[in-house]
């Protein structure tokens, strides 16, 4: 059974005012346990609105969201349980830190869950370990840390609830290349070692292609694609049409194809690109 499922999910902002705007329109998706799903689309495509429904922050205008088959808005109590099972980490989460120490900030979620002191400690230490925070950092003020460290503390604050589904909105925004890699690896590592479902929201394929098993492409509040990474790339024309970036490497193959060469366009890693180009050069006898 799907861990998360939406049925005809729609949401309209400012209903009944001149500013009425349909943010998402009849979304039907289902996400299996343990999957790594990338959600891409540009600003205003509805991707942020969609994920805020998955943990019950927003209530659908129409349609339902199911967690393990049960409507998450069926009762107040269940919505609250789902808050902890579906961990949502917002964009630039470091701006939401508030406690006097890193430890206490990470403990905020577990505390709200009503865990005992001992359980809270276990959760915090485990989460801190996942994001690579050293023990001595736990007693520091989060405001004395560097930008990248703050980001990791904030993500640990969500992981500490040990959610079955971890959703991150643009987790690498504003970071340098190394910071981006560290965070991506950390998230993938979390999924593999806990078996949790992970959903990463992003603006571009480049960020999600590496780790995601499936990609949900949103456009103007609707689902454009919801399929495997390769299948999405093989529809690159549509991606370009709706204004999404394709990775630089994929771009090369798109260009070659448009020049009449018979190459695959579902390529996004250096290793695969190398293989395909070597094949092309061999075929054309350009490789001795």
């Amino acid at each position: 059974m799907a861990i998360i499922q939406t049925e005809n999910l729609s949401y309209v902002y400012s209903e009944g005012t001149p500013f009425r705007k349909t943010a998402i329109d009849n979304i039907n998706i289902s996400i299996e346990e343990g999957e790594f799903v990338g959600i891409i689309g540009h600003t205003g495509s509805g991707k942020s609105t969609l994920v805020q429904h998955l943990n019950g922050l927003l209530k659908p205008t129409s349609g339902r969201v199911l967690f393990n088959g049960q409507d998450i808005n069926s009762s107040k109590e269940f919505t609250r349980t789902v808050r902890f099972s579906v961990g949502l980490c917002f964009q630039y989460p470091e701006y939401q830190l508030f406690e006097s120490t890193v430890y206490r900030d990470i403990a905020f979620g577990p505390k709200n869950m009503g865990l005992s002191e001992k359980e809270i400690e276990e959760h915090v230490l485990k989460a801190a370990d996942f994001v690579g925070l050293k023990k001595e950092m736990l007693n520091k003020s989060p405001f004395d840390l560097s930008g990248g460290e703050k980001r990791r503390v904030a993500i640990a604050g969500v992981i500490a609830m040990e959610p079955k589904v971890l959703i991150l909105d643009e987790p690498t925004a504003g970071l340098d290349p190394q910071g981006r890699d560290t965070i991506s690896d950390m998230i993938d590592n979390y999924r593999i070692s806990t078996g949790s479902t992970v959903i990463v929201v992003s603006h571009s394929m480049e960020d999600v292609a590496k780790n995601a098993s499936k990609v949900l492409v949103m456009n103007r509040g609707k689902v454009e694609f919801f399929t495997g990474v390769k299948e999405v790339f093989s529809n690159y024309e549509r991606l370009v049409e709706i204004g999404l970036n394709v990775p630089q490497i994929t771009g090369i193959f798109i260009d070659l194809k448009s020049r009449g060469y018979d190459v695959r366009t579902d390529i996004y890693t250096v290793a695969e690109a190398k293989k395909e180009l070597v094949r092309l050069f061999r075929e054309r006898g350009a490789l001795k």
Binding site: R83, Y95, V158
Partner: protein, 285 residues
């Protein structure tokens, strides 16, 4: 919710009300608000309401927005009206329910209070709806510039207001975002008594304050980069010059004031109305 607040917002336009000199608009609003509290009879109140309706129509601001501006004070209006009706026992009793006496005097006062509050809110909303925040604070700066003599730095105060108005929407967005984020970590912001709710807001206000400080720092840098060094020697993009329309508007409001003063003297106040009605009802019954 929090995003529904419209007071302080500006809706650009090119109506005659938009084009009035902001200084004049400020003065007119001030006179209007005082006048509305001096109205003691239906003729005066009717004149002031008519004036307001006319202004709203001239401003071409949609009636929906006007309605929206009243929404936040709706509860206050409702409560005061009910209190007036329940506790004001002047005039004739229309209905008697046990201890509750509903009287004509109560109803008159309730109607007057309601109209006064609504007119006050609509008039001041109209001022901000039709005047850009910068022009508004500019106008305040110019109107109060004589205070320089008593060593009050009017420019700084006006600049602070400009910045405050500019950052209100930004901060509203930010509060919204932080609240969502903390709710996602299980923060319960909606239940409990006042103390519990206050405590629950700590995770919202601490980050808000910290972020605001860093915003303020960055803004200060950015302003320095643009050669800001106080009000001395600054010029302005927008000229303020009184035009014929400004004098007409001033004349109109003064005429309304004249109506109020005269009618207050000549026409009976509503308390006496109720006496008249009283004897009328007695006569009929």
């Amino acid at each position: 919710m929090i995003k529904d607040i419209t007071i302080g917002q500006f809706f650009p336009g090119n109506s005659i009300i938009h084009r009035l000199d902001p200084r004049m608009k400020l003065v007119l609003t001030f006179i209007y608000i005082i006048a509305i509290f001096l109205c003691k009879n239906f003729l005066a109140m009717g004149t002031m309401l008519l004036f307001l309706i006319l202004t709203v129509l001239l401003s071409k601001i949609s009636l929906k927005l006007i309605a929206k501006s009243i929404k936040p004070v709706f509860i206050i209006v409702l409560i005061t009206s009910v209190l007036q009706i329940v506790y004001n026992n002047k005039g004739i009793t229309l209905l008697e329910l046990g201890r509750l006496h509903i009287t004509t005097g109560g109803i008159f006062t309730a109607v007057f209070t309601t109209v006064r509050i609504v007119a006050l809110v609509v008039a001041s909303s109209l001022l901000t709806y039709t005047t850009s925040p910068t022009l508004l604070t500019d106008a305040i700066e110019r109107l109060f510039s004589p205070l320089k003599i008593v060593k009050i730095n009017v420019h700084s105060i006006a600049m602070m207001m400009t910045i405050a108005l500019r950052f209100i929407p930004t901060l509203i967005d930010e509060v919204d975002k932080i609240m969502s984020a903390q709710k996602s970590r299980g923060a319960d912001l909606e239940s409990g008594n006042i103390i519990q709710r206050g405590k629950a807001l700590v995770p919202v206000f601490v980050p808000l304050f910290i972020n605001s400080f860093s915003r303020a720092y960055e803004l200060a840098f950015a302003m320095e980069c643009r050669c800001y060094k106080g009000g001395e020697g600054r010029t302005r993009l927008k000229e303020m010059k009184l035009a014929a329309r400004d004098y007409i508007a001033l004349f109109a409001i003064l005429a309304c004031c004249g109506v109020i003063i005269l009618s207050n003297r000549l026409i009976t106040a509503p308390e006496q109305y109720s006496n008249i009605l009283d004897s009328f009802l007695r006569f009929v019954l």
